[in-house]
């Protein structure tokens, strides 16, 4: 089955063709079933492939990898790029997450989108997204990855703008279509850097195949250190765009304009993690470029805390989750930056489970609330939507890092990675962010599910639990959010259990070691420290939870705190005015320059052309009117000469023919003058 991994992305694309061409003429159910079936088929094929991979012999480096790629795609002089797919442990993790979670979300979408008019269009996009995401995951070289990379960006654009005729954000006046475009353009800015990085790689190493790049950068020698750092940063900028890191995170909150399953699938579980995946893929390169890693760690940690802070003030249920996603992605990058790749990918996986669950839960809430997204108008939904509530709570506990749940293991591993690699500042930032995370998540839970309903009686009567198509996926995901972390059970506990740290063993060969991060290497001699830190982190999280519960228990306290904090609250509430800043510093000047150029184009560049034309015509105008200007002038001149003669001879005579003759004589004189002077 490994030889057919290229089929995995193609299956959903077949769904695109079917639904795209015939979707509008088919019954809704058939459309949904086709969409889900293709993803299920991809999932089953993936499972088969991964099982086969696990059973295959590792190569000399201990890596199990299978590459398929015979078909030439871009055969250039500098670099030849084939259509190349490969599966290794790193890819297999993403593959299973994408197809698995993707399938659940597809099923959920059948229920969620049931009332939509453009049902077929939605599933076409969704299948297209799956195809592109799987291309990205299974890509054997950077260009194939770039196809998926841009493809998912496109799907994101289309799905964010799915309600293209609706307004979205009243504060900034954004419409859904604007939000989609914003996402795409912001991504493109990142891609620009990414592409430059790719060009550097291609020119210097003559290949874009991942395995060959890893091979070559490892033996590149110190001479290319600067190059690798540069490339590393450029590629990371690309990842920043895709994975919504500072400074390119601004699109993700607005991406919530899309339907909720989309937010779950694309903007939480899969697409936004593509940047993390890519950086992990290039671990060999980053191993040679510690400076670039430092940048990644710093950016990741900063993003984690900033986004978390912004999450505390948001009132849109999906936006809270969006900031949470940005923050969690920051965690992952921080992990990569400190060299804890496995931890990063681990968190990627667990995050996919609980964040998808959160989004789907939020979707269920929105669905139950008939489209209301403002958490200040919710409350007390616990009783009306028990399944949603319990699954949501599980996910919240997971993300808050309560021991035993998936998020705890991955987050702890990241924190430990940061500490053990010596990046104490990163650790501190991330730990603080964990506290803030716990705070805003419980704020969300409290405002949504606990307390009294604040949306009015009319709305209250319509609130209902979602149907099974939506809740069953929730429950499956909840199960995953609990057990999903156990594959990464730290060594420090239960030293002999069979599943101990299996995730690490599976993944490690696919990652080039730099600092040897993760628990495996150093766990034995620092178990005590690790336990201490773990407890500290849990403590911080619990503080956050406690604070949230205390504050939101009373109805007036939040307002009071907001008033007390004043400007700070305002700053956070307005998201640090980053959008406004970008608008002021980048967009407005840009448009001004554009308009300036348009002016220049019309008046200067074209003006020169038209000026020449007008000058020529004007000249002709002059000569055309030469009875008035030239001839009259000459008449006057002749008149003047003849007047001169008149004074001498007492006669004045002039006439038109004589003007002509004067011109003629003038010509003769000019010729004579020229001839004598030049000859």
């Amino acid at each position: 089955m490994l030889d057919f991994i290229w089929l995995i992305p193609l299956i959903p694309l077949a769904g695109v063709l079917i639904n795209g061409f015939f979707g509008r003429r088919m019954p809704l159910k058939v459309v949904g079933v086709i969409a889900c079936a293709t993803v299920l088929a991809a999932f089953l094929l993936s499972v088969g492939a991964v099982v086969q991979l696990a059973g295959s012999e590792p190569n000399a480096d201990g890596l199990r990898i299978h590459e398929v790629g015979e078909l030439d795609w871009i055969p250039l002089d500098a670099v030849s790029v084939p259509w190349e797919f490969s599966l290794d442990p790193l890819g297999s993790v993403l593959l299973l997450v994408v197809t698995g979670v993707g399938f659940l979300i597809h099923v959920y979408s059948i229920g969620y989108m049931a009332h939509e008019k453009d049902y077929a269009r939605f599933f076409t996009y969704l299948n297209l997204f799956m195809g592109m995401m799987l291309t990205l995951v299974l890509a054997g070289n950077m260009m194939v990855m770039f196809v998926g990379w841009e493809g998912v960006g496109l799907c994101s654009y289309l799905l964010i703008g799915f309600y293209y005729d609706k307004p979205f954000d009243t504060r900034t006046g954004l419409t859904c279509a604007d939000a989609g475009r914003k996402a795409f353009i912001t991504n493109r800015i990142g891609d620009f850097a990414f592409l430059i990085g790719v060009l550097y790689l291609a020119i210097n190493f003559g290949t874009l195949t991942f395995s060959e790049i890893s091979e070559k950068v490892t033996h590149a020698g110190p001479g290319s250190h600067a190059l690798l750092v540069g490339v590393g940063i450029l590629l990371f900028l690309g990842a920043c765009g895709k994975s919504a890191q500072i400074p390119l995170y601004v699109w993700l909150p607005d991406a919530m304009a899309g339907p909720t399953p989309v937010s779950a699938l694309i903007h939480a579980a899969t697409m936004v993690t593509a940047g993390v995946y890519m950086v992990a893929r290039m671990s060999a390169l980053y191993a040679q470029a510690p400076e670039a890693m430092a940048v990644i760690a710093a950016v990741g940690a900063l993003t984690a805390i900033f986004a978390a802070i912004m999450g505390t003030a948001a009132t849109d249920i999906k936006k809270v989750l969006a900031y949470s996603t940005v923050s969690q992605l920051g965690y992952m990058f921080a992990a990569l930056g400190v060299g804890a790749y496995v931890a990063g990918i681990f968190h990627l996986m667990t995050h996919a489970f609980f964040k998808a669950l959160l989004f789907l839960g939020a979707g269920s809430v929105i669905h139950g609330m008939n489209g209301e997204q403002d958490i200040t108008k919710m409350g007390g939904l616990r009783k009306k939507m028990p399944r949603t509530y319990w699954t949501f709570l599980v996910a919240t506990l997971a993300i808050a890092g309560i021991p035993g749940l998936a998020g705890f293991f991955s987050k702890d591993e990241i924190l430990w990675g940061a500490w053990s690699s010596g990046n104490k500042m990163v650790w501190l930032t991330l730990a603080a962010a964990a506290g803030v995370t716990a705070f805003y998540m419980f704020r969300l839970v409290y405002l949504t599910f606990w307390g009294r309903f604040r949306g009015g009686d009319e709305a209250e009567s319509h609130v209902h639990e979602s149907n099974n198509l939506m809740t069953v996926p929730l429950m499956i995901l909840a199960g995953l959010a609990i057990v999903g972390g156990w594959v990464g059970f730290p060594n420090s506990f239960l030293k002999d259990a069979p599943f101990i740290h299996s995730f690490h063993h599976w993944l490690a060969p696919a990652i080039a070691d730099s600092h040897g991060g993760g628990h495996g290497a150093e766990a034995s001699h620092s178990a005590g420290v690790e336990f201490g830190l773990m407890a500290l982190a849990v403590g911080i999280a619990l503080c956050g939870i406690f604070l949230a519960l205390q504050i939101y228990k009373s109805s007036s306290l939040p307002q009071k705190i907001a008033d007390t904090l004043g400007p700070v609250y305002k700053l956070v509430r307005n998201l640090f005015w980053v959008d406004e800043l970008y608008n002021l510093v980048v967009l407005r000047p840009f448009y001004a320059v554009c308009r300036g150029f348009r002016w220049v184009d019309i008046h200067v560049v074209d003006g020169l052309v038209n000026g020449t034309r007008n000058a020529t015509l004007g000249l002709s105008y002059i000569s055309n009117l030469h009875d008035r200007v030239v001839v009259d002038g000459l008449v006057n001149l002749t008149g003047w000469t003849t007047t001169l003669f008149h004074r001498m001879l007492g006669r004045v005579q002039t006439g038109m023919i004589q003007t002509y003759l004067s011109v003629m004589l003038l010509g003769v004189f000019i010729l004579i003058a020229y001839y004598t002077l030049a000859g």
């Binding site: 250039l76 005729d165 592409l195 840009f590 052309v609």
Partner: protein, 540 residues
Amino acid sequence: MNPFGDQLLNVITFVPLAGALVLLLLPKEKNELVARLATAFAGLGVLVSLPLWFAWQSAPTDGHGFRFVFETGWIPSIGARYIVGVDGISMLLVLLTTIMGFIAILSSWTAIQTRVKGFYVFMLILQTGMLGVFVSLDLFLFYIFWEVMLVPMYFIIGIWGGKRKLYAAIKFFLYTLFGSVLMLLGIIALYFYHQKVAGIFTFDIRYLQAMGTWAGWFDLQCWIWLAFFLGFAIKVPMFPFHTWLPDAHVEAPTAGSVILAAVLLKMGTYGFVRFSLPMMPEATKHYLPWALTLCVIGIIYGAMVAMVQKDWKKLVAYSSVSHLGFCMIGIFALTADGITGGVLQMLNHGLATGALFLIVGLVYERRHTREISEYGGLWKVMPLFAVLFMIMMLSSIGMPGIPGNGFIGEFTILMGVFALPQKFWAVLAATGIVLGAAYMLWLYQRTMFGELSNEKNKSLKDLNFRETATLVPLVLLSFWIGLYPKPFFNILAEPVHKLVAQVEQTWQYPEEVSVLTEDNVLVRLEDLKETAPEEGNEVH
């Protein structure tokens, strides 16, 4: 595979002209018949051009890398011969021309309602002119085709154009003629210099290209290069010679815009590839920084001006300026990848921008306005249209995979440009990718997305079969180039590597055979004297 033998290129070139002559014989009231017959001839043009592709591998070359060469005497007095032939580069452009010509004519069935017969006659003549430019291997013949197609294009804009059609038409005509005539002086100078050194009067491009290896004419070369540059750069058009383009595009009827964007602009880039680079490599290298600068300015400037256009067609027109800047920077990278990408991007731009103009034309035909603000929410009423627009827009902004042809071109170009020691050229050029996405997506959003608020748009009909048929071939070709461009790379490899070698002045030209017999030489006074009458013949 090739039923026409060495006459293939003649057949391809003159089928449209024959069609024009046939149309002339028809009564002018029968508009339907005229349109269908014109389409049939254009379709025939596509069919007869197919052997180029399918018989390509089996066709013998003439020792200079040209295939399907046909040559015969023409004006022996000046050494001009009728020589046609194609290499990989021109072969692809010929195919592009026949296909786009067919589509342009097909798209005009309902758009052109007045003076129908004249329109198709001009379109077909134009088609012959453009094909002639690409197949000519004789500089004199080339120049004749190069200029003669200005006339039908002038009338297509001038008669069937929009409100400012006269202004746009004459601007197009004069501006491009301005470049062409200076180029003509360059051609004359080149020709006489070649004669002075080589001793034969010839316009045969294959021999003239060998001048690239000559030493000692650098100053003259620079002047001639500049003359050629002006001619080609105006046609391309490169910044700052581009201002005729928006006017011409906006005012031209849809078919005219399509042909203009898809084929006419390519003649400029083709000129650089065929003449400036191989014949005058030293001058090319001398002026390279300036040329690259203009390319980069064109890319960024074109995109930024496109950003703030309120007119749909004008936006696409400025996007052409930007994209052609991309083609040109690839060509001026003087690397195999860059030139391959440049040529490939010529095709891609032809497909994508041609399609975008068709798309503007389709809504213009329905609503008779090009103001972007008049539209919005069209997806609701024209979903098929919206999807096709989306795909071609993605092609235009270089989306990989969907359909991906634009991306292949841009990546190849960037790869080529990046091989230059100064990396900033590629970096600056790559900004075009971001800017391109910005204005195109905004255009798409303003027209297709948003609320369907304009009453007039609510009753718009989606595409009918014929209209779909004009766009679908372009979409399919785009996907082909995007997903499996290898055949194109294979075809381009040989001429491009030859070109690079020519620019490096390492290309080994075959031994020159004197193709000119004694009689063919311009005027030899001695000859005349010899045959002049004897003294005794005088009458006294």
